[in-house]
Amino acid sequence: MDLFNRQRSPLQAPEEKRVPVGLWVRCNSCHEVLFKKQMEQNLNCCPKCQYHFRINSKERLLMLLDGATWEEVDANIAPCDPLDFVALKPYKNQLKAGYSSTGMREAFLTARGKMGGIPIIIGAMEYSFIGGSMGSVVGEKVTRAVELAIHEKCPLVIVSATGGARMMEGALSLMQMAKISAALARLDDARLPYISILTDPTTGGVTASFAMLGDLNIAEPNSLIGFAGPRVIEQTIRKKLPEGFQRAEFLLEHGMLDAVVPRSQLRDYCIDALRWMT
């Protein structure tokens, strides 16, 4: 049993959009200089403009679950390098770097926990692990999470943060989309609730499989959500994309999301919805 307190890894800042380490941070949106403690107390949102900083999978579970506690499951599923893939860097090295920077074997954290007293299976993607990309392990862990929810007859909540399918495992990554979606069909047949929470960013093969298959698909404000990435689209149409394109509010307006929910209300929203559904 891996409880949060024993597993907690130090906060990482693998990229600009993560909360920078240090006493002070500058908001990416309003550029206000903020006292970090104050921002953390505000769920890593800017107290001035409510800009949502990216948070990691453990912080995500911490803010969503009762008592900020959970029991991690399937932590021992580890990646290999089935295609012996080498681009500018060997894939094996990227996996090692992901492990040492996050303390996680892969880009997905699965746990048993409670929300408003309701036992649930929850999963959160780890964006700082190779861009939250989905290879065989993420596919397997999500599938097992779905199957566990079916087995324990409880709701499923998945928080996405990802660049999509992982190229370095080729078509094996692609097939995870089919594998997970098939498991979700069974969850649907079992009439069990599934809330999909899309956060910044959620693109590619994850959006085109489990992230869009919730009974409720909800997103944090301003999250980038799409199938094709904005750069690919710009190259295809050779035009600049309109402001706000592929942001959560854009998707809401086009009927692709059930709600855009600020981080401060996310937990309450889920609890209310789960109470209604169960």
Partner: protein, 318 residues
């Protein structure tokens, strides 16, 4: 006229042209035709046994390769096309409809590329929009309602990456198809005939049997896209094609496809009719096996087949 084929097949194409010319010579030219065919097949087997993955990519995208509508006219009778998603539009990048396979009613769904400039634009280069996938889903449910087996032919560079496709929910359309195909209560045979471009291919690709033509490809991303992202250099596409394991031989080993359909000497486009015959035989054999299964078992086996995909290890501790 400039040579329109691929560099490595130039000699073969010259022989094929000579064969066509010799055939007009009447019965006395028969021995010449035979000689040329023999020459063609020997040369073809020499060239085609050592193709690089990048050359296979070129073949999979060959503009003379048989497309879905070609297979429909070769293998099916009474094809009646079903248009539109009943919501927004008809997407010509996917064709679907009712037909008969050797007398038996079936439903067909396939990507359709265009051969000339006008057709290519009309078909959007075989890149479907959400309405294409929603039309496909509609025809899947239609097949299910009337207990007709479903044949899906995959040949797409990928789902269309454009503003309107995103606005109308490209991701949602693909995702829904994956989920619904996995529990569709009729046999599904999927054949990758050319390009299997990522989620845009898989969205009509969750079947009981997934077969692939010898020189077709199936990949998580195009070699060009992969090169641009992982090498930061699109000209590394040839290397990416090798690393992605996108050929039929590699995918069979990885358990992604159930079978590989051999192509005639020179590739599918060198002898479409013989390719059609091979595809037809494969459909007939697999249809017979799948129809003998009870529906519950059919769906259970489909689930298990995709459930097993992926490679990982179990760490000892924690």
């Amino acid at each position: 006229m400039a040579f329109e084929g691929l560099v490595f097949e130039e000699e073969l194409v010259a022989i094929r042209k000579a064969i066509i010319a010799a055939r007009t010579g009447g019965p006395e030219a028969d021995s010449l035709v035979e000689e040329l065919i023999r020459k063609h097949d020997i040369l073809a087997s020499q060239i085609f046994t050592n193709l690089s993955p990048w050359q296979v990519v070129q073949l999979a995208r060959h503009s003379f390769r048989p497309y879905t509508l070609d297979y429909i006219s070769m293998l099916f009778t009474g094809f009646s096309e079903i248009h539109g998603d009943r919501g927004f539009a008809d997407d010509p990048a996917i064709v679907a409809g009712m037909a008969y396979f050797r007398g038996e009613p079936v439903a067909i769904i396939g990507h359709q590329k265009g051969r000339d400039v006008k057709q290519r634009l009309y078909r959007n280069f075989g890149q479907p929009k959400p309405e294409g996938y929603r039309k496909a889903l509609r025809v899947m449910k239609f097949a299910e309602k009337f207990s007709r087996p479903l044949i899906c032919l995959i040949d797409t560079p990928g789902a269309f990456p454009g503003i309107e496709a995103e606005e109308r929910g490209q991701a949602e359309a693909i995702a829904r198809n994956l989920r619904e195909m996995s529990r569709l209560r009729v046999p599904i045979i999927v054949i990758v005939t050319g390009e299997g471009g990522s989620g845009g291919a898989l969205a009509i690709g969750v079947g009981d049997r997934v077969l692939m033509l010898q020189f077709a490809i199936y990949s998580v991303i195009s070699p060009e896209g992969c090169a641009a992202i992982l090498w930061k250099d699109a000209s590394m596409a040839e290397t990416a094609a090798d690393k992605l394991h996108l050929t039929s031989e590699k995918l069979l080993k990885l358990g992604i496809v159930d079978g590989v359909l051999p192509e005639p000497p020179g590739g599918a486009h060198a002898d479409s009719r013989s390719m059609g015959a091979t595809v037809g035989e494969a459909i007939a054999q697999n249809l017979k096996k799948l129809k003998s299964l009870k529906t519950a078992k059919l769906i259970e086996e489909r689930y298990t087949k995709f459930r097993q995909m992926g490679v990982f290890t179990l760490a000892l501790e924690g």
